[in-house]
Symmetry: C2
Subunit: 511 residues, 2 copies
Amino acid sequence: MPASGATVEHPRESIDLPIEPEGVDLFLSAPDKKSHGEFLQRVQQMLLDHAFQSTHRESKVARYVEPERLKEIMDLDLKREPSSMEALIGHIRDTMKYSVNTGHPFFVNQLFSSLDPYGLAGGWVTDSLNPSVYTYEVSPVFSLMEEAVLKEMRTIVGFTEGDGIFSPGGSIANGYAINCARFNKMPQIKEKGLHGLPRLVLFTSEDAHYSIKKMAALQGIGSDNVYLVKTEANGKMDVRDLRAQVEKSLEEGAVPFMVSATAGTTVLGAYDPIEEIHEVCKDHGMWLHVDAAWGGGALVSKKYRHLLRGIEKSDSVTWNPHKMLAAPQQCSTFLTKHTKILSQCHSAQAQYLFQKDKFYDTSYDTGDKHIQCGRRADVFKFWLMWKAKGTDGLEKHVDRVFDSAEYFTEKIRGRPGFKLFVERPECTNVTFWYVPPSLLGKESEPDFNQKLHKVAPLMKERMMREGTMMMTYQPLREHPNFFRLVIQNSSLNHNDMDYIVAEIERLGRNL
Amino acid sequence: MPASGATVEHPRESIDLPIEPEGVDLFLSAPDKKSHGEFLQRVQQMLLDHAFQSTHRESKVARYVEPERLKEIMDLDLKREPSSMEALIGHIRDTMKYSVNTGHPFFVNQLFSSLDPYGLAGGWVTDSLNPSVYTYEVSPVFSLMEEAVLKEMRTIVGFTEGDGIFSPGGSIANGYAINCARFNKMPQIKEKGLHGLPRLVLFTSEDAHYSIKKMAALQGIGSDNVYLVKTEANGKMDVRDLRAQVEKSLEEGAVPFMVSATAGTTVLGAYDPIEEIHEVCKDHGMWLHVDAAWGGGALVSKKYRHLLRGIEKSDSVTWNPHKMLAAPQQCSTFLTKHTKILSQCHSAQAQYLFQKDKFYDTSYDTGDKHIQCGRRADVFKFWLMWKAKGTDGLEKHVDRVFDSAEYFTEKIRGRPGFKLFVERPECTNVTFWYVPPSLLGKESEPDFNQKLHKVAPLMKERMMREGTMMMTYQPLREHPNFFRLVIQNSSLNHNDMDYIVAEIERLGRNL
């Protein structure tokens, strides 16, 4: 027996591999060259073609079909019998044809968009390796890569030490924040639960993402115990109201334990004043979380990182590279300045997975910090993008999307038919009403808002059916429906902004 | 203006696309043919080669390198400057080289393995479309596909009606179960939280997955309020002890609200007796959840579905196609027979995303049932596999992995040096000690268990360093470390089982 560590070429002649005849191996779970090579190659060619076509301005953003009709076209039902290779290729073609091209330049509908070629390649590689990131043993490369990316992101935030994890989306990352904040206040909750404890209360603005309430409900705190703080007209948290609500909760005998500030609100793109909120947290011993899922990307820009001034004073941060930094869905992180809390708060020390008698340094087995067990590697696509572009490239990307939003804002400011919701947008969200010709000049009529409320849904229907653009709309508080343009795609330029303005006018001209 | 619904070819001459000169476009977020086509094609060829090589029996399962050394090799740090294309190709090559080949036939280490070619193609397609599944508007195909897959899975479980969602792993799916069960008992918890309520208690076996405790901690119930029910020698829940513990909780003044039975425990592969547990739940008004994350695959087999007898009487089920059915990581579902509870329990009705004044039937906007907002489409890879193989193919796959496990069990039964932990394994987990030559016949010596405990870690180190196989070990309760072979790869055959036995003997022969 050679010494441990040596490579041995031992005989394997006993393993005679029966090559399955073509056509009967559909139930096998490892590709063979004969019958799967052709299939995989054909799919790869389709993907390459699609990557270029679907991001081309001359192509459609989407090919809208009603749900019932799409069910017929797609033949979605699952049957007992296998399908032929041609049928499978057809299914893939239909899936591509009827899916929305989220990489298209005129998909400005969500807080994610674009199709980054390095991110795409990274995703393909990840699929091919099919990892689950919980132990160094099973995911050596991705475990270390997560450490490197999270460390660099913490450095950019301004945390000199700390910890971090990848999360399946910003909502769950915000849930991690709630759990850490709660554990920090009352560590016994992990074992004993909330039973018999005073009522816990946390604070976030009325414009914060809905996940704060959703996760508070899941975590047994209750959505009513998320106190919503008023915002100013531009969507920033009103810190005087925060102070008042904290006082109120104390008078009620509750325990205020956390504020979730937002850096880039979902609709208006507002950045809450982190430094002022930090003062309130300090005064009342509350955990300061910053939900920078969307607006965190600005941190890589010398020009725009002032928007998050004070973030280094926070206890934790949600930051999704799949949003402003345009990594593929899904790439979401939770960062904290506290070095041990993620382990303390979440670990369950399962003996079958996190054995302590392994032969390597098990501090690299980071899985127990998570609430997930099996977990996809969301890191590689972002790491590869970052390597490809460098931090300089990420900065140029961010500066360019801000530039597009600023150009668009100035273009529609004062333009007939356009009315900005936020006069001076802070992020790349540009929110505005389009007032069609038939309503222009009728702003004082009593049913104006009621009529304006119906304009955006109608225009959205038209852009969907024609496939020329996708941009979302929403109401907010007492305000009627308005549009939100939102930009994370740095291949967009001023000409594209001109196109979007012209397209809005075209879609609404006879309303 | 043509009628809504028509396709218009309107002029786009104003959009003059400046083609960026090669080399300066690294920060753009849409692929262009000139500089990215070559890169993506090279990556595709590498992936194709890797898919075949990494699943070949003559290749290594892993190429183990110590963490500190791997950090040096991989150049993981992120820099300000961009990288060249050659450097990126090198990074991808290294990532493949040093990652574990989880698709290799001799990766029998976890509850997932293999590399299904249809699943792989499905993953690549999903990456290329970069969807987020929350609204029909943004993900028409995947929204309908999820509905079709979840419906068919519910049918196979035996639920005549109900609902379901995809989840980022079985742990969070079990958390969904806890939340539904709790909401079912006391719906006010969603808004009001657990404050002021009696202590809630749930039950699962001592061999159940650690996620039950982890999620109970996250959800404010507290890990101590997960009462662990004793198991019998083969790992099945002892229903008399369950009854006793429920009684005990009632005497304590607590509110028992849920039992989580396991169908295929993580280590021993035991199937809890669902029908008997259902009787206890009925008697005490408790929600019956079945964590079939691992063992649920047996449901597609006429020969093995009896293992889950009574599952149709449960309230909810966790079932991960990425485990026994060998879909790629990650593909995990939560199914329930209750039609409305997922919406009631989780919805937050965000107005910016789930607008009710859309032009289509918004019942297809299923995102609000989830705790995630943005969410990857995990459905397509599994749907494509299922289409490719048919349910018949899935059944053959399951029958084959059971056959391999049974062959292995009989091969080692009574073989010198091997001792089965569970004499008659129910699932494809085969658990056993390997007693090396130096310890054979010394079973009655006082330090035998202590010495045996060290054998599996040493053999694991050897197999990792040589890359010939990966199989896990763990202790359980008072028992010393033992091996767990676990099979989800239907390309494994009897010869492979012979190889694994021979390899174990080779690795342990001088211990």
